[in-house]
């Protein structure tokens, strides 16, 4: 069995599952986000288990509308009434996938669900994690269960050593550009090259599985992953690695040592990403580094490293959003915020805001944005007449200095 098949078999009490099977599973952890309380919240009469639930304020914080503020009121009343201890209110909040990671809520071999499409981020920790709609997440909150249909899995074997200049974003964009979407498939990553890919990059890759339309996106538990989990969870866990005779829909090798910095053109990432060297030096109006995919401490460290002692170009806005309040605090203490701010960047509070064009940093008609976030759909970050390119935090920071899309090796050399 593949990793996902193993986890779904375990969670449904089966010895074995195969592609096409429909299984009913106990869900180990369910995360409710602020939007659920703002957009769809008749209070429940009872819930399955407050200990398998977390509530995280992330998409619209601090509340930009009265409707969002009312959602916060409902969320706070709910956690009080039902004794939900894992409540991450504004001030100890963050983008849910970051908070999930910091608090060890995505655990190897377990199932995690949440009302955000990038919940597949948890796959970095060998978790069967995926986004589901608000009605289904509400249902899981009530019953503790849901169903899955076992999808075929595409396996990526990473070989070679990742160069320092290459990040998880570049690896993902390479895969999306070379192989296109993976609709109704799972992604599984492994291979000897994985040892050179740190946990933050794995989470970027797992997060972006949603951008190629994959169901689940998982990594094995290796030494790096164990080190991370040792620091973030104190309960024992049971990893689910794939069997040597697992069946895959496709098996593809990625030579990390041969990768260059990548960029996705506007609209989508699948079949639409190329090495930076292959596109025109497009002038940029706004640069963004943030989101569950790229607002991690390591992303801010890279951006600060590129920007320290340099200046954001005239006519360019650089917005940096830490993925959580904890990341924000760490970035302050490490001097990253100062370096970014001195260079002319705006460092915001942690929120999903700019990434989904809901609040802060929207784009006007005719503007060009280079983003290190999750999604480059038309209209995603504001006007449908703006263009959204996507790249790694390093490439975005370099573009902010140059004023146009550029290979970061040319700026930092």
């Amino acid at each position: 069995m593949t990793m996902i098949e193993k986890i779904l078999a375990r969670a449904s009490g089966s010895d074995h599952v195969t592609v096409g099977d429909v299984v009913v599973c106990e869900v180990d952890m369910t995360v409710l986000i602020d939007l659920q309380f703002a957009m769809m919240w008749p209070p429940p009469t009872r819930i399955a288990d407050a200990d398998r639930l977390a509530v995280i304020m992330d998409h619209a914080v601090p509340a930009p509308t009265v409707s969002d503020a009312d959602g916060g009121v409902r969320a706070r009343a709910f956690v009080r009434e039902f004794g939900v201890e894992r409540f991450f209110d504004v001030g100890r909040h963050g983008i849910c996938h970051q908070v999930i990671a910091e608090n060890g809520l995505a655990r190897p071999g377990e199932i995690l669900t949440c009302t955000d499409s990038h919940t597949c981020a948890g796959g970095a920790y060998n978790t069967a994690a995926r986004g589901l709609g608000p009605a289904e997440v509400y249902s899981i909150m009530c019953t503790g269960k849901t169903w899955f249909q076992v999808a075929p899995t595409i396996r990526y074997d990473l070989v070679g050593t990742k160069p320092d200049v290459i990040s998880g974003k570049d690896i993902f964009l390479h895969v999306a550009g070379a192989y296109g979407d993976a609709t109704n498939h799972n992604l599984e990553f492994g291979g000897p090259g994985l040892a050179s890919v740190p946990m933050n990059d794995r989470r970027t890759i797992a997060t972006q599985g949603a951008e190629v339309s994959a169901d689940f996106s998982t990594f094995p538990v290796d030494e790096l992953c164990r080190d991370f989990l040792d620091a973030h969870t104190d309960r024992p866990y049971e990893p689910a690695d794939s069997d040597p005779d697992a069946t895959y829909a496709a098996r593809r090798e990625v030579d990390l040592s041969a990768l260059e910095p990548y960029v996705a053109r506007p609209g989508r990432v699948a079949d639409n990403a190329v090495p930076v060297s292959q596109i025109d030096q497009r002038k940029v109006d706004q640069c963004f580094i943030g989101s569950c995919a790229n607002g991690q401490l390591e992303d801010l460290e890279i951006a600060a490293g590129v920007l320290r002692g340099r200046k954001v170009a005239d006519g360019v806005r650089l917005i940096v959003t830490p993925a959580s309040q904890a990341v924000y605090n760490q970035a302050v203490k490490a001097g990253y915020v100062e370096a970014l701010s001195d260079a002319g960047a705006i460092v915001t509070n942690s929120t999903c805001g700019a990434c989904f064009g809901y609040h802060m940093g929207l784009l006007g008609a005719g503007e060009v944005c280079l983003t290190a976030s999750t999604r480059n759909f038309k209209g995603r970050m504001g006007s449908p007449d703006a263009e959204i390119y996507m790249a790694s935090p390093r490439t975005v920071a370099a573009a902010a200095i140059a004023g146009h899309i550029v290979d970061p090796r040319e700026v930092t050399a």
Partner: protein, 169 residues
């Protein structure tokens, strides 16, 4: 729920994403208002033309993107069902869990002409144009999926099972 529906087909292409159907700015609006912005950029004015009972057809990878409840907007517009060559699985689950039928019928987006009147059998997974020129068969809807759709979505079942407080909104 009727499992055979007839209506006008509105045909869209591949990889139609959720931001195109439920843009970020519309998330600040009540459902009825937000529904006026479905396909706001892809097909401006469509929400004035669509009528109750109409069917939205798309190509591959329909609904890539977020978990925002697009189905609620389609239902507010009276759309009877979604049909696509292939659905993104989150979008598919989101539709049926809100009680909006979603049926995968490979080849449908190329075969059915835009605005053609069609007959769709949700349970059998078949679609025909009323002029008889096109007739396609997809996979029949699994019984448990039909049950979710027929009861109006998972939420209706939770209400029936007493999980939802009905004395407040």
């Amino acid at each position: 729920m009727e499992h055979v529906v007839e209506g006008r087909a509105w045909v869209f292409g591949d990889s139609v994403d959720t931001d195109n159907m439920y843009p970020g700015f519309a998330m600040k609006l009540p459902i009825e208002e937000a529904a006026k912005h479905v396909f706001y950029d892809l097909r401006p004015g469509w929400t004035d033309e669509v009528q109750a009972g109409d069917i939205v057809i798309a190509g591959r990878n329909f609904g890539i993107g977020s978990s925002r409840p697009v189905a609620e907007l389609f239902k507010a517009l009276g759309v009877a069902a979604l049909v696509a060559d292939e659905f993104n699985s989150l979008f598919y689950r989101n539709a049926i869990n809100f009680g909006l039928p979603a049926i995968a019928i490979p080849g449908v987006s190329a075969a059915v002409p835009d605005e053609a009147p069609v007959r769709l059998d949700i349970r059998a997974g078949t679609i025909q144009t009323l002029d008889g020129a096109v007739s396609l068969q997809g996979a029949p809807l699994p019984d448990f999926v039909w049950d979710i759709v027929a009861q109006g979505g998972v939420f209706k079942k939770l209400v029936a099972d007493g999980y939802v407080r009905t004395d407040s909104s």
